[in-house]
Assembly symmetry: C2
Homo-oligomer: 231 residues x 2
């Protein structure tokens, strides 16, 4: 039985999510889906008027939606030229991994002091990935992988870190789409996710951090190589 009053806090914490979505929020949500699904490719321009006509909302509202996604780093804005789906450069990729190393490794180090549900979410992501792989749904494998790393960073227990990581990993999706072939890329990392989780659960933090670092190094090297070749 929960302590008295705990449900009040639950409500207070969730009060932001009750129907309080502006039109701009909904448009942003639609756009976000189009981007993470890869239907909008990096570099592509998104004209205000076209989108406004399609979504049946006014230009001003479209612009507000743009601002939201710009701050999530999914879109970029060039003055007097419009907004474009972000194109991640090699430098950007390096920076992305630099910050991922910082946040996710910190998450690993915080694992002992993290609540058990947080660790459970890491395991859930591992399992989801394995299940998706077994079913040959490589799209979902990618999603599970992202959730895995999100859960790692969440071990820090900081809302701020959570948000940073969410944006970080959303940007990673852009990178994935820009190089295609999700299967080849994600497959080898499935086993490593599992091993990393086992180390974590066993409490062997040093080994876990080492594994994570090597994991990130490998992934970055692989992506960077593919990037250089693409040009």
């Amino acid at each position: 039985m929960p302590a008295q009053g705990s449900w009040l806090e639950t409500i207070a914490a969730a009060r932001d999510d009750i129907g309080r979505h502006s039109t701009a929020d909904r448009v942003a949500h639609l756009l976000r889906e189009q981007i993470t699904d890869g239907r909008l490719v990096p570099g592509q321009r998104i004209p205000e008027e076209d989108l406004g006509r399609a979504a049946k909302v006014s230009r001003n509202t479209i612009r507000e939606a743009f601002r939201l996604l710009i701050n999530e780093r999914l879109l970029v804005h060039e003055f007097n030229r419009g907004v474009f789906v972000r194109r991640v450069t090699a430098d950007g990729l390096a920076d992305l991994y630099r910050v991922r190393r910082i946040l996710e490794c910190e998450g690993v180090r915080c694992a002992p002091s993290a609540p058990s549900e947080a660790l459970a979410r890491v395991e859930a992501a591992v399992i989801d990935g394995e299940r998706a792989a077994a079913g040959d749904v490589w799209e979902q494998v990618g999603t599970a992988d992202i959730r895995f790393h999100q859960a790692l960073a969440a071990l820090v227990g900081s809302p701020r870190v959570d948000e940073m990581t969410r944006h970080l990993l959303a940007e990673m999706r852009l990178v994935f789409h820009e190089m295609g072939s999700p299967r080849e890329f994600h497959e080898p990392y499935l086993a490593r996710n599992r091993r990393l989780y086992d180390l974590l659960e066993r409490g062997d933090l040093d080994a876990a951090e080492a594994e994570l670092r090597s994991y990130l190094d490998d992934a970055e090297a692989q992506l960077t190589k593919a990037y250089r070749e693409q040009e």
Copy 2:
């Protein structure tokens, strides 16, 4: 003599900063100053119309300016209620310091591989603080202190970390204003900034990180205490 073509890169790198400021950017800049100077106090509401009349810009543009500052976490937006200067809670303060610890300590660890100019900026901030203290300009001492920590995080050499830290420390300003008496708060940390820099320059990373951690622990404890008392 610079290599041929290098000036082109210089221009390409700076092309963002050439007069390309929208009206919303300028309004946001004005507002940001009002906030960091403490003329707009945390919790205060900012009506669109009033601001629009004062700045002589339309409501739509005001709203765009709001979005910018909302994403810098200086303002908060409540649906159908308006925007307010952010009020940092005790929880928020704890999270603020949690992330500062992560980023600034990482900066310290990166010091050896950081370019010498980056270290020079740390020293410059220390000196600025000492000079301002000597001149009894405690407002500037606070500014120098913020620049010091910004420079620490910049040792990581990541644009992303730079931006996060900028927002982080801007939010710290809100905390300072919410409790007043800058002198008492900042004075004891002047000497510690100096010592931290000396340790850094000497290359004694472990001692530097320990000093920084203790620094942040003390500051957080002091602020949290003042916070609790305020209610």
